[in-house]
Symmetry: C2
Subunit: 355 residues, 2 copies
Amino acid sequence: MVVNHSHLSEFIKAVFLKKGMSMQHAEICADVLSFADLRGIDSHGVARLSGYLRLIDARRININPVFKWEHRKKTQIRLDADGSIGLVSAHYAMQECIKITHDYGTAWSGIFNSNHFGVAAHHAMQGFPHNYIGLAMTNASPLVVPANGVERMLGTNPICVAIPGKNGRSFVLDMATSTAANGKLEIAQRSKKSIPEGWAIDSEGLVSTDPKILSEKGSLLPLGSDAEHGIHKGYGLGAWVDIFSAVLTGGSWGPWAPPFVSFLQPKIDAPGKGLGHFVGCWDMDGFNDLEETQNQLDAWMDRFKSSQALPNSEVLIPGEPELKMQNERLENGIPIGSEVWQDLMNISKELNVKL
Amino acid sequence: MVVNHSHLSEFIKAVFLKKGMSMQHAEICADVLSFADLRGIDSHGVARLSGYLRLIDARRININPVFKWEHRKKTQIRLDADGSIGLVSAHYAMQECIKITHDYGTAWSGIFNSNHFGVAAHHAMQGFPHNYIGLAMTNASPLVVPANGVERMLGTNPICVAIPGKNGRSFVLDMATSTAANGKLEIAQRSKKSIPEGWAIDSEGLVSTDPKILSEKGSLLPLGSDAEHGIHKGYGLGAWVDIFSAVLTGGSWGPWAPPFVSFLQPKIDAPGKGLGHFVGCWDMDGFNDLEETQNQLDAWMDRFKSSQALPNSEVLIPGEPELKMQNERLENGIPIGSEVWQDLMNISKELNVKL
């Protein structure tokens, strides 16, 4: 199935409204999820809709949260998201950072008592209309081992840095800190292929090429994959994200980060509340004249694009493939796989929302 | 040779004084370089002293710089380092950020027209006495290809995040964004060993295991090493550092980043001036109560340390091996290899500074 972007977005909005969410929050959810599908990050788009709904039904997502803001310093805010869906709490936290950045040049928000925040890039790019650089990170359900470890201690903990360029040509790095994200294993599983060495280990810590290894108590490996190739770096990045998102904010960190799937209960005795996120921005005009900086960024991209590539290959700018996909899918619609389509049809039927 | 830390530090200070540096600047240089040796980051310590001296002799490092500060926003500063050694300019930029953070909770400085800034962790950890989290990054001589590329476009561009803990037990992630740093190839070269696949490629882009490949127009690979293992992530991180350090600030970015070695001239037609750095800090008290946050960080470290490890192995906290080394070398002295020792003896003789 191929669906028009605005149609998909309207459907998502209608679904959340039907569940009792406010119009404002439902619109944000629809924006963030359909943006992921537009950009080709299908694992973080409408494919997650049924998962969010199950968390709502399990009362793990609070659909009518009352946000508690704590402005602790002039440029630092804490947000207790009251069990909100992260799509919404991270969005509002970033909006608050943007307001403060107008006056001070930067602002930062730690968010706790939250849930899965969707695609990090959507939050990090919120400041683009003001030419603000965005940073967004979140912790996530534990699936990744530390370097030298065999126990799931970290999520795929993404980092996104978004730097606004001229004419919509921006730098958007949005990366999981594991070598491969969960979604890549699912793709291999569906196509009955083995996975490369360096993505996952079994419960004993041995390298595994089985795409189903996560359902057999295996774990994902941090970026770098092994000691010779810098696994301690990927582990360090994932740990940084966990500490910023949850240790600094009061969220549940490390192995206590609540699972996304509703059939797994959050562990008891958690050291904090819910998932945590960390977002903020810098005014791009704060280090050098804005126009000069954006001209330099444009020249940087040109120089990298024209650098010598491997045969039949091309050097890409972080965010370039996603922008290309966005333009293509705005034009031609968003393809939805049959499993996800069935999921959406079930939701449509159950909630009596037209798909 | 084994040298006492304070003795080594005094020697470095005396050398820079002899070259005409002010006492204040010479003390900072001695602090930063000897700190690297203490922490076991030998590639960034006194082993670099002769390199800095050659850059001074070549008039590429200005030993008496006049810093030009531009406070562009309340929490954002630009520093024109006037050709300073980066050890000093990054230090002062961080000190300025710390002052501003007292009032606003965060502050950030972009630095350009600078030179090699030594070990990133020293700058990032400057705010520890105030319980400020530090971030420090710098661009560097081009040695690393982009994903899909065969041309040297990026340096090993390190990122350091330093989070102060209780009782001196802190989180210090200080990592090059390439799979392996240059120094690891030099070690393999000296011991006549080949290097693992995934560290470097030859001038055609083919994987190389030759430790001398960099002197034969080869290049280093970004963290991730190949397409299957997330090379685009390491490339994205290195690119982020390049843009923050030099594109935002007015430094020379990408392939124009000036080389560390004095026998290579900086490329003409550079888009900016000198190397660039990016430093700044967050008040740790700005997201949640400081004591609570540091207790949580301590618990985080305990939980990770006690997580299940591979047989005969141990999960480490980023910065833990360096702290252990620091304590050991403060007690037992700093071992200096024979090549570096010969270098120091030559400097001692030439400048008539007692070693």
